[in-house]
């Protein structure tokens, strides 16, 4: 009996995930609760990571999400997610907003809605200099490491059809595996790769980032499909942040010349939710 009703429920629900929204409007719900649950990766410096001193989440995406929560007049509550769990979490309504290095692409548009693009980065490959890999094509037949459930894996497979890909729960485990020599390359968003590369300290000189982009990734905040008023509110705040210069300030705080990433300029604006198809 238990198992049968369980199965019925599962068949009824899991497949039709979208069917079960108990409330009329997520934005109204967030405002009445007084808090917005934001899904972050927490292992993705400088976008979201744990400050060892305060043990709180900090980073570029954390600041953007906090700014949005402030403007909406609610408290941000951060929830750490695995890369692969991001889309199921937003679909099932376990988080209200995703600020988790989420790539905006056509395939995902049927699953989630995206805010204005909040960051643009290429995806590249970090290799050891003595590995004999000079360009992306050299990766044919070689073992490449990356994170599970992101766009990195499909993109590298598209760029190098015969590559052997091994994936992990977090980008940092893939990076660790590269360091230990368990593969010849590590694929990630360029912004994160630069940070990882800088993190190596003295060993930095033994590694290099292949110049070729395997793709260009517009990153955006993820919103549950069909929550038009929340999307309008989030986009509104993002436009305000851009207009007031606040968005640029946050960018330079985490990526600017004083950080180990040392970006001199910001070559995107938060002004569109359209992507090239």
């Amino acid at each position: 009996m238990r198992i049968r009703s369980l199965l019925t429920f599962i068949t009824a629900g899991v497949i039709g995930l979208a069917a079960s929204s108990a409330y009329a409007d997520l934005l109204a719900d967030i405002k009445s609760k007084g808090e917005i649950v934001v899904g972050v990766l927490g292992t993705d410096e400088p976008n979201s990571f744990v400050d060892p001193k305060t043990r709180e989440f900090i980073g570029y995406e954390v600041d953007i999400a906090t700014a949005i929560a402030d403007k909406l007049g609610v408290k941000p509550v951060f929830k750490q997610l695995a890369v692969a769990a991001r889309i199921p979490e937003i679909q099932q309504g376990r988080v209200d907003l995703l600020a988790a290095s989420l790539t905006h692409n056509k395939e995902r548009e049927s699953q989630v809605d995206f805010s204005l693009t909040t960051f643009v980065t290429g995806q590249k490959v970090l290799v050891k200099k003595d590995g004999g890999i000079e360009n992306v094509a050299d990766l044919t037949g070689k073992k490449v490491l990356t994170v599970k459930g992101g766009t990195q894996e499909p993109n590298i497979r598209k760029a190098v059809p015969n590559v052997d890909v091994v994936t992990f729960e977090t980008t940092q485990q893939a990076f660790l595996a590269l360091q230990q020599g368990k593969g010849v390359g590590y694929v990630n968003d360029e912004a994160s790769l630069l940070n990882d590369h800088a993190k190596l300290g003295d060993a930095k000189k033994n590694y290099r980032i292949l110049p070729q982009n395997i793709s260009v990734e517009p990153l955006a905040l993820g919103i549950k499909k069909g929550e038009a008023s929340l999307k309008a509110a989030v986009d509104g705040v993002l436009r305000e942040l851009e207009a007031s210069g606040e968005a640029e300030k946050i960018f330079f705080k985490w990526y600017g010349p004083d950080t180990r990433l040392q970006f001199q300029s910001r070559d995107f604006k938060i002004d569109s939710d359209k992507i090239e198809g």
Partner: protein, 242 residues
């Protein structure tokens, strides 16, 4: 129950078993199942002799050997398999000399680390079953063997182990079932076994339900075979009253 049935019917077109019964997703899942079965077979073959050795250490007349056997079992049994996997994949290779590292990394290091972790873990549990099996044989049997002039190992091999087998096999099969389920944890260190491939299919197709149904049924079928083997053995070779 009725409203649910209505909901289920309205969702029914969504459930598409064909997705995992043929095509690229099917191939992924089947390759995962194959690798899981390989992990099971290799670990089983390695664990059994190792477990026997540890069981004998624990029963040996030498105190130091007994202590060593005990330390092996306790230190492994009391740490989760997941931590073993993480340790053998991410932690332990730091200790190996460069040449060993290169040699290992040229192979499927993910699967090798998983086999090491699974073998150590499984053999610690199996050795306890073997030990209790041996202890179930009355002490006079051992004494009789020694009295006839056999050494410790010869008595074990010729007198005790054959009798202990009947008592030991059913719990060993049950450990094999645990081993089979344990192979799923190898997904955390990037071994492309069944669980890993189910997650792959899920993130590529957004069809978690089909992928998980396939994986669950595959795990259950193999478990059914293993449990079936246990009942067959108990029926065919019952423990003889002593």
């Amino acid at each position: 129950m009725l409203p649910n049935r209505a909901a289920r019917q309205s969702c029914m077109p969504d459930f598409d078993p064909a997705l995992v019964l043929a095509g690229p997703y099917h191939d992924l899942l089947v390759s995962g199942l194959k690798l899981s079965l390989q992990l099971l077979a290799i670990t089983f073959v390695l664990s059994l002799p190792l477990a026997t050795i540890v069981a004998l250490l624990r029963l040996s007349p030498l105190r130091a050997l007994r202590w060593f056997g005990c330390a092996y079992v306790e230190s492994i049994r009391n740490v989760p398999l997941l931590a073993h996997m993480l340790f053998w994949y991410f932690g332990a290779p730091e200790l190996y000399p460069e040449s060993v590292k290169h040699w290992l990394y040229a192979m499927n290091i993910e699967a090798i680390s998983a086999v090491i972790a699974l073998t150590l873990y499984t053999s610690a549990f199996m050795s306890e079953d073997i030990r209790s099996g041996i202890r179930a044989v009355p002490a006079v049997q051992f004494e009789a063997g020694r009295a006839m002039g056999f050494g410790f190992l010869a008595t074990m091999r010729l007198v005790i182990l054959p009798q202990a087998t009947r008592v030991t096999v059913p719990p060993l099969i049950s450990q094999t079932l645990n081993l089979w389920k344990g192979t799923s944890i190898a997904t955390v260190i990037g071994v492309s076994e069944l669980m890993y491939q189910a997650a792959q299919v899920e993130s590529a197709s957004f069809r978690s339900f089909e992928a998980f149904v396939f994986a669950t049924l595959a795990y259950l079928s193999v478990s059914l075979l293993i449990t079936g083997a246990a009942s067959w053995y108990q029926h065919r070779y019952p423990v003889r009253p002593t």
